[in-house]
Symmetry: C3
Subunit: 471 residues, 3 copies
């Protein structure tokens, strides 16, 4: 017999009884609120097609770089885990074997949010009652496989069962949003919205930039042969996205540096890029300028503006060349906000029409830069702890380092940012528990009283995110 | 009926009973010690004139950028809060209406030190028994207004009731210290001391530098037309400040970079400044040099030297141009100490005559740079968590990150650094509670014993600050 | 009668009973495991000669810059503590008097790891029952002196009593390892291993570089007049060290910057160094290259590679010139890993033959850079909290900031890195307690269960360090 998998009802709460009692009370008040997921990377095809998930490895492991990077770090080849290659290298195809490897190494996830989320998925979504390990691997594989064939485990059924009020995808500037259209046409009531992410065309250093610009021109119906047309194309696509229900845009940038170019400079750099002659400094200046431009457009069309800086993408070139991007080798770098955002915030930060949500991978900026900025500029809100910091300790540090300067109401509430659809309830449940626990700590120390805590608790779990994202 | 405002006697202590019991015990031993406030920005006119505070908005909100920046961050215009403009833009003058806006948005301060201090002020200083919100706003306004007219709420009476042993103001190099003289002449026993802050004349990039130099020359009685005379003027003013009771100097600088210039270089840059031709690099080099010079002078005249680096002032230019400086838009920047202070510490850091108190807005420097420096150089002491970090979590992080390397005795004890006079007891009470709680955590984990904790507790609350500032 | 010195059996555990109970349980399971010390600075002469320690001051204070830097920071001259000078300045020789000064100022260590370790040493190793202070100083001095003369307090006897399985020293590239040979020849069973640290010859900016290269040539038996011969010499010495039992190498560098030079460039810089004409930029490039080379060699010969970056050595030049290096004036600097290690990790980080252990003095890199890197690259492991951060709060921050991204199994377990031999058991006991307490916190919050915690606890206390260092 294997060890039981039990989710304690007090999990993640402080063990001090005074705090735990209050945390539980606050959590009870928010745990059943609908899930609002205003930014993430779930594939809209899941819901337009509504086909069964193929098998446990395909559902849980193969698309989730949070999982396979940890296995890789311990010397397990990605090929042996069935991660698809782009260079033709063959990979393992026996998904039972892949699952077995995963299960045997599942102990590596002890103390990580991935471990916590997976336990939640297995237990709550799939009703698994034993811990995953080498011994239980095949039993659990079989149980999961069977469930995945039943109608209750189709994507739309899961979406509804998960009590998701809104789910946002992330879509390129040239995306037709055909999957979103298909969802609408199907008459399905689930609210899945696109979001506009133009990185492929705004980042001139992107090796596929010329192809991306061609695609953008194709969908716009005119050749993008000038900076002015480029801007027109973006504005046109934003309008289309908005019409398709989009509420927000997003930019993933190495640095949050902002600086406006003159039209002449912008045109000059744009033409260099067209000729494939743009260097890193020019590309960086163009990105700095395009962050400014996106703010201007947001003020004009009302889309919420998100900024995700600070990841050095594809750090491990060998993995990148064999497997492509998003394979667990993006590594954070130090990120400066005070000086970098000054041009943007000076031009647009006092404008109430702008809603700018800033994220960070550099926790040193929380108390030093981001909380003071969000605690002053009306246009700026601070997104929650992100990616590596979307975790129990990470969320706790976020609140500890942000709240005293920015308060609660200059933060946005939780954003899951996941591509792992079945982990969404686990992530929101975790966030609600941690926020409840943080507030309970304030109440137990008489920093705020219980009635204030209840008000804030509801704001963090549900209201702030709807307000920030204009839902 | 409104919600009651209650200050729990165990507030801010850990809820774990083992820690709370010890924290309370330690706090009892220090809570009634006199307040020593060796650095701050209270206006000396309060005490030379001893006039009643005009009204609650004028007392609490309008002078305190900690408060109105938070309201501004949520879209409330500073004009609507009666913050005076320098560009002639009219502002709200109905202070009851201003107070009402403040009260309706008071929930924004949940979990912030400002909220905690205000509750203390309202409850302890003014005897208010209900929470401030939109409903109670006018009742509380009326109660406060009435109290402000009574003799016990005159500045000097409050000063005495607050049990303040010493209060230090911050005064420019050209200040006549007339208010301090008037206090002396009045025979009042309250000890309010000036401190010498020459930023307006040492920072050549200050737009008002030429005017400031003229004023300095005027008060010195000679034209400051050379670097040598500039130094003479500073030395002369320091001597005057010292004679008027000053114990310390202060410099607010963007970077703590120190580097000595040759007399020829110093003269050259000084003459450029006189012609209005100094650039940012020269101004920075001059500041770096003037930090060295201030250390030299401190060794000669015995004044304690304070250094406050790391704020990028007036980040929001629109606010700066309309409202002037100190309006909640100074934003911290990353600050390096190890290399920047090396020239200063190599020249003067081994000299027992120097007492250099260093502050930071960059918490990453606590454990990495400042604790190792203060834990080695005899001349250097570490000031407490400052400004944005003068808070429950901020003070806790300070002790957690500094103590293991620098111990307690290389820190200075609490410095409130406030311009909000009625918040002083709240701030000191909070600091004493947090230090008691931190020590209690050490005792509860058997890291130190109770008798050591008592000794340290008294040092942190009272003795160290007197020792550091040579009181 | 003096105050008793009591080590509580629950020391360093959280005072919350739920956590403390589990922490104690986990600690019981690991407290008697043998000590594995894979990196440190204990003098091998202690064990080859096995002579009695001369006296308490000589044993505890004089060699330990953790101790005397704190005394120095409070204005106590190093000369008065008997710290030997290199410039001929006379120093105090009365060790009873030195011990008295130390004892009178022992209160400075309240809340520091040094205080905690010393109490452990006095109580557990020497059976002292009263607290050290001015009153007890001479009594304790006499008791210690007496014990040091008895056979049980000879170095080898202590080594055995301490239950040390392996102790590693740190040895220069030109070291004959004669002391290690003498130990082997003596037939003593204690396992004391050398480690290869070539900083003196790889750092071209070292003022003694030419002498160091000559010594290296002398021991290799050929003149090192070219870069190629330099590499041959290093490879030869590594082979010798390995034959003498070495398992690892170490490099102490200011920055972890890595970059490969072409053979021509390497030769050119090497020849500049031979002529004494190398500048800081060339020396830095050479160091960056030598880190790459050391990784290549490690892949070839299997030695574990350690990297210790981020200390600005000898910050206080006055102390350095009078007393030499390692006198408590090395100060950490900000350290970047993501970009700096990219060349190394791209070339060698996917190679399972490499075991690279990275340390840091910059805690901001834990969650932002090092955990993501160690949580991805198979060759890289993260060393424990180091030097200033080898402390209760430091270790706790390490686990809190590293675990959620890198898990436990990409860390190495505890490394004491000490030159204070009698503090070794105190340091390992502390580390085991803190890890037990951290795990207990996870169990109490139901993040992991007790059986997982037991497994991890044993790994952290014993197994991981053996695995990482190939023991």
């Amino acid at each position: 017999m294997n060890e039981p998998l039990i989710l304690d009802e007090n999990r993640f709460f402080d063990s001090d009884p005074a705090i735990r009692r209050i945390a539980r009370d606050l959590y009870q008040g928010v745990k059943d609120l609908p899930i609002v997921s205003p930014h993430g990377h779930v594939d809209p095809k899941l819901f337009s097609q509504n086909r069964p998930f193929p098998d446990p490895a395909e559902l849980i492991l193969i698309p989730d770089h949070y999982i396979f990077r940890m296995l890789y770090s311990q010397g397990i080849k990605l090929e042996s885990l069935g991660i698809p290659t782009i260079d033709g290298t063959p990979v393992a195809t026996d998904h039972r074997r892949i699952w077995q490897i995963f299960a045997e190494n599942y102990y590596l996830f002890a103390g990580t949010p991935t471990g916590v989320w997976l336990n939640h998925e297995l237990s709550v979504i799939f009703g698994i009652g034993e811990k995953l390990n080498g011994d239980s691997a095949m039993r659990i594989y079989d149980m999961l496989s069977e469930k995945l064939l039943s109608p209750e485990f189709l994507p739309r059924a899961l979406f509804e069962r998960m009590n998701i009020e809104v789910l946002t995808t992330t879509d390129g500037a040239a995306d037709t949003l055909a999957e979103h259209q298909a969802m609408r046409d199907s008459g399905w009531k689930g609210r899945v919205l696109p979001a506009f992410r133009p990185d492929a065309v705004t980042n001139l250093a992107n090796p596929g930039w010329q192809k991306a610009i061609e695609e953008l021109g194709a969908i716009c119906g005119f050749e993008i042969d000038s900076y002015a047309r480029f801007i027109t194309a973006l504005e046109q696509r934003r309008a289309f996205f908005k019409q398709m229900g989009a509420l927000s845009t997003d930019q993933g940038v190495e640095s949050p540096w902002t600086q406006e170019l003159s039209p002449v400079e912008a045109e000059k750099i744009f033409q260099l890029a067209r000729k494939g002659q743009v260097g890193k400094p020019e590309a960086d200046r163009f990105t700095a300028h395009m962050i400014m431009e996106m703010a201007r457009m947001s003020i004009e069309d009302g889309l919420v503006m998100q900024l995700h800086p600070g990841a050095l993408r594809n750090h491990n070139q060998a993995i990148y060349h064999r497997f492509g991007p998003d394979k667990g080798c993006d590594i954070p770098i130090q990120t400066e906000y005070t000086r970098n955002l000054q041009p943007l915030l000076n031009k647009y930060g006092n404008d109430p029409r702008l809603s700018l949500v800033v994220f960070t991978l550099d926790e040193t900026s929380y108390a030093r830069e981001l909380a003071p900025l969000a605690g002053h500029y009306p246009a700026m809100k601070l997104g929650p702890s992100w990616w590596f910091h979307d975790s129990i300790e990470g969320m706790t540090r976020f609140r500890q380092q942000v709240t005293e300067t920015a308060g609660f109401y200059n933060t946005t509430g939780f954003v899951d940012d996941t591509r792992a659809f079945p982990s969404i309830p686990a992530r929101h449940d975790l966030a609600r528990r941690i926020d409840a626990n943080f507030l309970a700590g304030l109440v137990a120390r008489h920093i705020i009283d219980l009635s204030d805590a209840r008000r804030v608790s509801r704001a963090l779990a549900y209201e702030l995110v709807k307000q920030t994202y204009k839902l």
